[in-house]
Point group: C2
Chain length 213, copies 2
């Protein structure tokens, strides 16, 4: 990656990426100007363009590097060869910890990736599917019955909803931290899925919905 480049090159790029992620997250991709990003990291606009071909290149690098980070977490958890339940809750915990210091990157991934062009968007989407698949597999090891009822995809996405939605409401200065959220999410989710599988659907015909799917 940094082949033949000055050692400061990657540092400079990283600073620009951070500034861009912060502004994209706060103002949105189309409402954040390249001048503002340049200003935020104390360089001229032409210098910013020396490091990044165009605005979309910044966006792609933010999303791509962040999802690589998430895939690295998945790989490092898998390497530990934990039991099904420990593996699953470790995944959730490590993700929540990552989220804590990657809020800008995560918000960009969620809200701005749709502005990438087809090829780049698909490249990011493919990596996202690998992350989702890792969680779905971890879940299937804990609760194998879900697949037979065709609920595995929906239930995995419900889990992502629980953890990803935290970005919309959890404040850094609040009483709860991202770290605190991990056991709460894991607890509700695993107990909930077990209850669902036992058919305790709060008086609602859950199996009917699954059969329709």
């Amino acid at each position: 990656m940094a082949r033949g480049k000055a050692p400061t090159f990657e540092l400079q790029r990283a600073a620009m990426l951070r500034a861009a992620a912060g502004l994209f997250a706060e103002k949105g991709f189309h409402n954040a100007s390249m001048s503002a990003i340049a200003q935020a990291c104390g360089v001229s606009k032409p210098l910013l363009y020396h490091y990044y071909r165009d605005k979309e290149h910044l966006l792609f690098d933010i999303a791509d590097s962040y999802i690589d980070e998430l895939l690295a977490i998945v790989a490092s958890v898998e390497a530990r060869k934990l039991g099904p339940e420990a593996h699953f809750s470790e995944l959730v915990t490590r993700f929540m910890e990552e989220y804590e210091h990657a809020q800008d990157h995560h918000m960009v991934l969620v809200q701005d990736v749709k502005f990438l062009k087809e090829v780049q968007a698909e490249s990011v989407a493919a990596k996202q599917r690998r992350v989702v698949a890792a969680f779905a597999d971890a879940l299937a090891r804990v609760e194998p019955g879900l697949k037979g009822r065709k609920l595995d995809k929906a239930v995995t996405m419900i889990l992502f909803g629980m953890i990803n939605w935290t970005f919309t409401w959890l404040r850094a200065d609040g009483p709860l931290t991202f770290h605190d959220m991990a056991p709460i999410v894991t607890g509700i989710f695993l107990n909930g899925v077990r209850g669902l599988m036992r058919g305790e659907g709060a008086g609602v015909a859950v199996s009917g919905a699954a059969a329709d799917a």
Copy 2:
């Protein structure tokens, strides 16, 4: 509201609001042009400005009318005086049904409301807090113990995560519908919260995290 206005006035406005919601949802507020909105509903741009003072007025009306719709659902469910569990699951079901035909409005509310100016943003946020409070109250009636453990806020937002995240992945042409999601969400959530309260935290010290909060 429609005092002295021609009967077509409100219809014309509604058509423009729908077109704007569709484009804001698809392209984002700052990437959707007033020209494109005008074109989408077959009127000239000046005519669009005759109905809506400016672009932000459109955004506010989309968000405000939609959240009024959600508050109306809350009121209509409360009017039925159901038991705690039926009330709660009816809330979730009615919201998921509303989401099914209000995807554009919901996406705008989630992703674009931050572009409103202070006064209008606060007006929308205040109504959103009333919706959240209604769910928190409904949950407290089902599971009173949450409040004592200061988990009520976090757990309510986890529920919103479960239902609101569906917008990012649920496809209209997929096997599952928004309607199918209601009993699955309710089942996982209520069983999960009960398990959490019984202390079945998947081997994790949940109560410890709550005590820190």
